[in-house]
């Protein structure tokens, strides 16, 4: 990928700031959530748009493997199943999935399970086909010695590519691996740099804005904010941390150069190994790293703050949801 020639190819102006985005599995549409309490399907080549009335901010979007079904996870705690291709979408199914915000969704590699996480600190597995509850993971009883459980809001979830476990990460920076068979937490460790208690403002800042594996599952990537000096002004640096999955050890922390202020709201790993991050806070940037090199190899300034990033299935484009209501599609290379 010749990321130095990355450039904007499509730009859609929406009427409300955006909060999330995701390409459909066939890559023809981008679905995005907005502050208008709706999700929108945008055909980025034809510039047509269809609304999905979710009545909530939706930060998490997931699809069935065939792309026919969209599942939205709302900040009202509701999971909603939709036909992703409908002309006048109506929810197929609505489930009160969590108490409080749903912060993230993930689909198992075989496409059968949907995992949802959020503020109630419970990991829930659903049959993606019919929405029935499959399992709940709560962790070990509170107060027991060495108990592994989430003590704060769960920010993200990802299935391991081998399909036997999943990983969750919370506000406090704790990562937990869970067995899909037993629901028992296998191990826990902390991404020290991605969470901090700000003693001045007396609040915890951090958490995992993205959590994803590389294709063979040997590495786990987590994005967020590090080096926070003022939580309430968002003074810190965007960061993507790479872990060795087997050992649960941090391998490297990818940082911007020159240092940017804000959060890495989204991350993606290209099949050629390039790590891509989307930054927002003080303006916005796309950031690119060569694997194993901590300093960004290239940064492209965006017209406004990024709030979400998704890599196109064809890996030639990324979608960036921005605070100014624009959904921007960047080509990762020279003009066609």
């Amino acid at each position: 990928m010749d990321f130095i020639k990355t450039h904007i190819e499509f730009d859609h102006k929406h009427t409300s700031p955006l909060v999330s985005c995701r390409f459909s599995p066939n890559g023809e549409n981008v679905f995005f959530g907005a502050e208008d309490y709706k999700v929108w399907r945008w055909n980025w080549k034809e510039d047509t748009k269809i609304e999905f009335k979710t009545d909530a901010w939706v930060m998490s979007l997931a699809f069935s493997n065939d792309g026919e079904t969209l599942i939205t996870g709302g900040y009202d705690g509701r999971l909603m199943w939709w036909s992703s291709t409908a002309d006048s979408p109506e929810p197929i199914r609505i489930i009160d999935g969590h108490e409080g915000w749903i912060r993230a969704l993930a689909v198992s590699p075989d496409g059968k399970l949907l995992a949802s996480v959020g503020n109630d600190r419970v990991i829930r597995l659903w049959n993606l086909a019919d929405g029935t509850s499959v399992k709940e993971f709560h962790g070990q009883p509170e107060g027991s010695e060495g108990a592994i459980r989430h003590a704060s809001y769960i920010y993200n979830v990802a299935f391991h590519p081998e399909g036997k476990s999943l990983v969750t990460g919370d506000l406090m920076g704790q990562l937990i691996e869970w067995s899909l068979d037993t629901g028992v937490p296998q191990r826990a460790w902390t991404a020290e740099s991605l969470s901090k208690y700000d003693t001045g403002f007396r609040a915890q800042i951090g958490g995992f804005r993205s959590l994803l594996f590389n294709s063979d599952g040997s590495k786990l990537y987590a994005s967020g904010i590090t080096n926070v000096s003022n939580a309430f002004a968002g003074i810190g640096n965007p960061s993507i941390v790479e872990f060795d999955w087997k050992e649960g050890k941090q391998l490297i922390e990818y940082l911007s150069k020159p240092k940017l202020q804000g959060v890495a709201w989204g991350a993606a790993v290209h099949s050629d190994g390039t790590i891509i991050g989307a930054h927002g806070g003080s303006n916005g940037n796309l950031m690119f790293w060569k694997p194993g090199e901590a300093e960004a190899a290239f940064q492209l300034k965006l017209p406004q703050n990024a709030r979400a990033l998704h890599l196109h299935p064809g890996e030639e484009h990324v979608a960036v949801a921005c605070s100014d209501g624009h959904l921007r599609i960047y080509r990762l290379g020279p003009k066609a």
Binding site: P17, N119, F201, I205, F232
Partner: protein, 420 residues
Amino acid sequence: MKSFAMCGSVEHQMARRGFLGIMGGAIGLGATLPQSLTAGLSQQNKQMLVVFLSGGVSQLESWDPKPMTNTGGPFRAIPTAVPGIHISELLPKTAQHMDKLSLIRSINTRNGDHGKGSYQMQYGRNQMPGLEFPHLGAVTARSLERSNSPLPGNIRIPGGGRSRDAAYLGPRFASVGADGKPPANSTRHESLLSEADQMRHAFQRRANERFLSMRRTAETDLYTQSYEQAMQLMDRREVFDLTKEPEADHVRYGNHDFGQHCLMARRMLENDVPYVQVSHTNYDTHNENFNFHLEQLAEFDTPFSCLINDLHERGQLSSTLVVVMSEFGRTPKINVRYGRDHWGTAWSICLGGAGIQPGAVIGKTNDNGTQVIDREVNHGDLFHTYLSAVGLDSSSSFNINGRELPLADPAHSPIHELIR
């Protein structure tokens, strides 16, 4: 304006002496209140509790939610104990007590500065160079003074020492910090035997009496009274010891700082302190307003609702005004960092107890909270309302060395329809 309290008086000097100085300052000479105003007030045992949410809590995430609008943010509004009144879902426990509380949703203080806003809300006026006015706590402590109590009348939680926030009312009404522990140096030194200590005090009293028989003045009376009151307070040092509260209450209120501070506030009110102020920090959420309000208001909701519940069940709420305030609110517009910025144009407070009509909503903002559209009030009106709610005539004055100095800004008046 000259601060009459900073005149080198005995009263002032004593206020600078650590614990004994602090406690000695709890009595003495100073401003006089018209007899008609003070008469009967101590019998009513009115008190005031202010919970100050530092940094500026968002009205949209607390008392005036606007869900499903372009400014509403991600949180929902929930019903409360009062049909028709909805508050943010971040306050589920407080919502159950809204039948004891009221809301003012139409505050416009025309200010977005922390320092100025903090002054406005706690002094009831705009800050003006060269002029010193007493803090709400000092006005309350002076007006609702318990003349026979050795305890300070104006307690600030958390904190330590005595502040200089009483202006012309004098340091004895200035706030004294309490942190849940008995004040330092408030016990007899272990090297001093009890008998020797008693003999020491007896000798001092005899010397005082001899001196007073020949040269009695107001200052000598003050000195003697202060000394005796400090001695009495040493016997009551456990009032400040939060460990004396039942363990179950520590758990119920929460073992975090704000939980313990609310429990301390309950203890102070039970001990008949006229004014108690608790601070909870911080709400200055320019970045990630929603995540931080989720975090902070979760910490606020449980102990605050415990406190309201306990005051109610113990029969204290009918005589105790409770006010939850900030220096301002936060912008309806959500910024690029999911933050909200400073906003004094259209915001809210919650209050209840004492003379406040319960279950009321005063004023209204427009559909997305960008402006007040009914019954606009400001910090001056609020200050009058607080004083009226504890039975004071907020249009009356203190007589300070012959000068009439109004309790509250005469340019404003109470929200009469909120006072019962």
